[in-house]
């Protein structure tokens, strides 16, 4: 079985464009929340989100071919371009068929879908512009990456909500391990739009819904909900030998992963997290690592009451006493909840930890919750060289995925 290594990272996030700016912001504990400008929130109680301010794809992508692309598609194309540039790879006629694209996206196309449908309802179906129809398929962002960069090996889109980003990376890693592809651009994307915002708002999931100032404070007893965000992350996964041969910089190796459903799951995460626990155990097994060899956990806690509690419970269950010695931090305190992009953004952050030797903080942490009593790296990053990191995502409908990455093994 071959090994999949990470040789390129492209990030578009509320705290920075490009991996260096992203890692730097995370290390500084910078947050990326601002007043929403993409749509009108005046009728609502919440006005802040992790909107990527002044996002302009033109400097990196050029003007050509951008006109009909929706925001998600622009975000993921910029991330893909940054990842390719970072990896130093060149896509040619010869290698194009050995390269794939695997992207997690769930609500990224929702605005395009709804707009298209509403135009038909309001103006009549004969007046709908067909050039916007291709944006209504959920595989449009990933497919536009293939079209723009001429990637012919394969193209996949996975839409498993919170887990989609890591699911897409695991799918990509399988393809490399099995020798079906040499290189895969893998990641996730989600755009901020009115429809998604309203959905989370009406479900009562957003922080600030009671009129207070929104705050993303995972694990803190004051936590009352998420700050919705947007972003895209693309990681270049490459077969190890090939990466070594071309002298590529290897940031990390994908050691193992597991996706495990929790049929006892509830929308408010009041369940005990058996599925997430299984996912972690299986991922460690596949990585051939003992629990004590994990040096850092990239948490998926997003400041909802149930999820942060459940994740803590699961970490204690799997790691026993050692749970208290592992730094567990949530970058969602800084970038917010990016849904299907979150797993890929978290993986990119953990890759930075391995590569640069730092642990990002959980910012906005003030008051301890007795049920959340692990080392959450409160408010300030730490300098620390680490070998292996575990990245988690859990979804309220029951999906869970855990992924283990390690430093280059040589």
């Amino acid at each position: 079985m071959k090994k999949a290594v990470i040789t390129g990272i492209g990030i578009v996030s509320p705290v920075g464009i490009g991996k260096d700016e992203y890692w730097h912001s995370l290390e500084q504990g910078k947050t990326g929340f601002r007043l929403v400008s993409l749509f009108d929130t005046s009728a609502l109680n919440v006005h802040r989100a992790g909107e990527i301010g002044d996002f302009d794809p033109v400097p990196l992508l050029g003007k050509k071919g951008l006109r009909t692309l929706d925001r998600s598609t622009r975000l993921i194309n910029v991330a893909a371009k940054l990842a390719l540039d970072d990896s130093g790879l060149e896509i040619t006629e010869e290698n194009s068929c050995t390269i794939g694209v695997s992207i997690g996206a769930t609500f990224g196309s929702l605005h395009s879908i709804a707009e298209f449908d509403r135009q038909g309802l309001v103006e009549g179906p004969k007046y709908v512009n067909p050039s916007y129809f291709p944006n209504t398929v959920l595989n449009s962002p990933a497919s536009q990456v293939s079209i723009r960069f001429k990637i012919r090996g394969f193209n996949a889109t996975i839409s498993t909500g919170f887990c989609a980003g890591l699911d897409a990376v695991s799918y990509a890693a399988d393809f490399i391990r099995l020798g079906r592809a040499d290189i895969v651009l893998a990641g996730g994307v989600e755009e901020l739009c009115e429809e998604t915002f309203l959905g989370f708002y009406n479900l009562g999931c957003l922080s600030g819904i009671d009129g207070s100032e929104p705050v993303s404070c995972p694990f803190d007893v004051r936590r009352k909900g998420i700050i919705l965000s947007e972003g895209a992350a693309v990681l270049v996964l490459e077969e190890e030998k090939r990466a070594l041969e071309r002298g590529a910089e290897i940031y990390a190796t994908v050691l193992g992963y597991s996706n495990s459903f929790d049929y006892e799951s509830t929308i408010d995460f009041s369940h005990n997290g058996k599925g997430l626990g299984n996912a972690i155990k299986n991922a460690l097994k596949e990585a051939s690592l003992a629990p004590e060899e994990i040096d850092y956990i990239g948490s998926c806690a997003n400041a909802t009451r149930g999820l942060d509690r459940m994740e803590t419970l699961v970490v204690k269950d799997v790691f026993g006493k050692y749970a208290y010695d592992i730094p567990v931090s949530s970058i969602k305190s800084m970038i917010g909840e990016t849904f299907s992009a979150s797993g890929a953004l978290s993986l990119a952050a953990s890759t930075g930890c391995l590569h640069r030797g730092f642990i990002p903080p959980t910012v906005n942490y003030e008051e301890q919750d007795p049920k959340c009593d692990l080392d959450y790296v409160p408010n300030a990053a730490r300098k620390k060289m680490i070998e292996n990191a575990l990245v988690l995502t859990a979804d309220p409908y029951g999906n869970n995925i855990a992924m283990v990455i390690g430093k280059d093994a040589r």
Binding site: K3, L110, I113, K126, P130, T136, L138, R152, D174, E292
Partner: protein
């Protein structure tokens, strides 16, 4: 003291040595609920196309579609659950129940195994989004239960909850090729030892968005779908679900299961050219990769279940690709499109066609391409016109292509 495990190999994923077989089939389609009725109607050449009734089409250019009008969710799902399930989930769950009943696996049996769900769809539940769009226009409040039905992945999660599943649960949204992506990932899950049994398939409800979009692209036929016919006028938007129970050969033999077919491998490719226009090279590469992974030669293919949507571009491109791949032999391979009968069920299409391929290799009968009237020199394949045909099929190739140039072909083999 830290107990260090020996790092013999950092990638200890087991080798791909398992054989994967299909042991249960479930279908929800306009020509039959359950594979028996569906198969009989396929062989008779029955059309499931009728006037669209789920929304007003008076302002559209065309008015026909492939709705499943006699689907009664209550026959499969208890009333207390029905409320929280969107149509996509209802059809997916119904076809799963049919497939499990067909496989002889009782729900209790699953407790001892790692079970996965691998589904495909184009939009998840388009109808929920469409209902909400109408409410948004009228500035009405969107209720909690409606919002909870939006996420694309509700169908696989609802199946997983119903059967208390603990394995991997995924959904692919690779548009009209999603079913093949889902089946092939299910095959990988078993091969890689990540699951013992996988529920694999796809579901898509009838969608106003798709109906309007394809109409605006001038891609919908007004009356009937006529794949490969010179005068073909387009596709027929439809709905449905197809589900397959996949398991390792040893597991199937152990429980003395009836085996429909074996999955030998699959191939994916991407056109990387255009969102809606297919490419001969992309489609050809997909078939070649599938055969390569399956370890078969082009001479081994006895039947091709075509993507065959009935649009000018698709059928012309697919036939050119078949010519390119199979050379001199291309006219000798029967190539039929069941979309001539049930229309294009979007993401569900290649799952329902996967069910069809399993039945073809099991029974050595090929369903026809109906509505075939005038040969097209650009589509001079043998499309099994209008009448089903007895034909020994050892290996079938199931083609599917999608928006974005996402191509997937699956190789299904007779189990002997």
């Amino acid at each position: 003291m830290i107990q260090k495990l020996r790092k013999q190999s950092l990638c200890s994923v087991p080798k791909m040595n398992k054989r994967v077989v299909i042991t249960g089939l479930g279908v929800v389609s306009s020509i039959g609920i359950g594979w028996g009725q569906f198969w009989n109607n396929l062989l008779k050449g029955t059309s499931g196309i009728s006037a669209v009734s789920s929304f007003d089409t008076s302002n559209h250019f065309t008015h026909n579609g492939g709705e499943v009008k006699n689907f009664m969710p209550k026959e499969f799902i208890t009333e207390d659950r029905l409320e929280s399930l969107n149509r996509s989930s209802q059809m997916a769950l119904a076809s799963t129940k049919l497939a499990f009943a067909d496989s002889g696996i009782h729900p209790g049996y699953l407790n001892n195994y790692t079970v996965g769900v691998s589904l495909g769809t184009t939009l998840g539940d388009a109808q929920t989004i469409e209902d909400i769009d109408a409410l948004l226009i009228e500035k009405k409040l969107i209720g909690r239960s409606n919002i909870l039905k939006i996420p694309t992945y509700t169908a696989p999660c609802n199946i997983a909850k119903e059967y208390k599943i603990n394995g991997p649960v995924l959904i692919f949204t690779t548009a009209c090729a999603a079913g093949n992506y889902a089946i092939s990932y299910g095959y990988d899950l078993i091969k890689l030892n990540r699951a013992d049994i996988v529920i694999a398939g796809a579901s898509d409800p009838f969608s106003r968005i798709e109906f309007t979009g394809f109409n605006q692209l001038n891609a919908v036929a007004p009356e009937k779908c006529q794949p490969f016919d010179k005068n073909r006028k387009g596709m027929m938007v439809a709905e449905g679900a197809g589900m397959l129970i996949l398991e390792s050969l040893e597991s199937a033999l152990q429980r003395n299961a009836d085996i429909y077919a074996e999955i030998l491998g699959y191939g994916l490719s991407c056109d990387a050219q255009h969102m809606t226009q297919p490419s001969v090279d992309g489609v050809a590469m997909c078939m070649i990769k599938a055969m390569k992974e399956a370890g078969i030669q082009k001479e081994d293919v006895d039947y091709i279940s075509a993507h065959g949507t009935g649009t000018q571009a698709n059928d012309r491109t697919e036939c050119a690709a078949i010519k390119q791949v199979f050379g001199d032999r291309y006219k000798q391979i029967p190539v039929s499109s069941i979309k001539s009968m049930i229309g294009h069920t979007m993401g569900a299409a290649s799952a329902i066609e996967g069910v069809t391929c399993a039945l073809v290799v099991k029974n050595d009968i090929i369903p026809p391409t109906i509505n075939f009237e005038t040969p097209d020199p650009e589509c001079d394949i043998d499309c099994v016109p209008n009448k089903a045909r007895k034909h020994t099929v050892n290996i079938a190739l199931n083609n599917s292509y999608a928006f974005g140039g996402n191509n997937a072909s699956l190789v299904v083999k007779k189990y002997i």
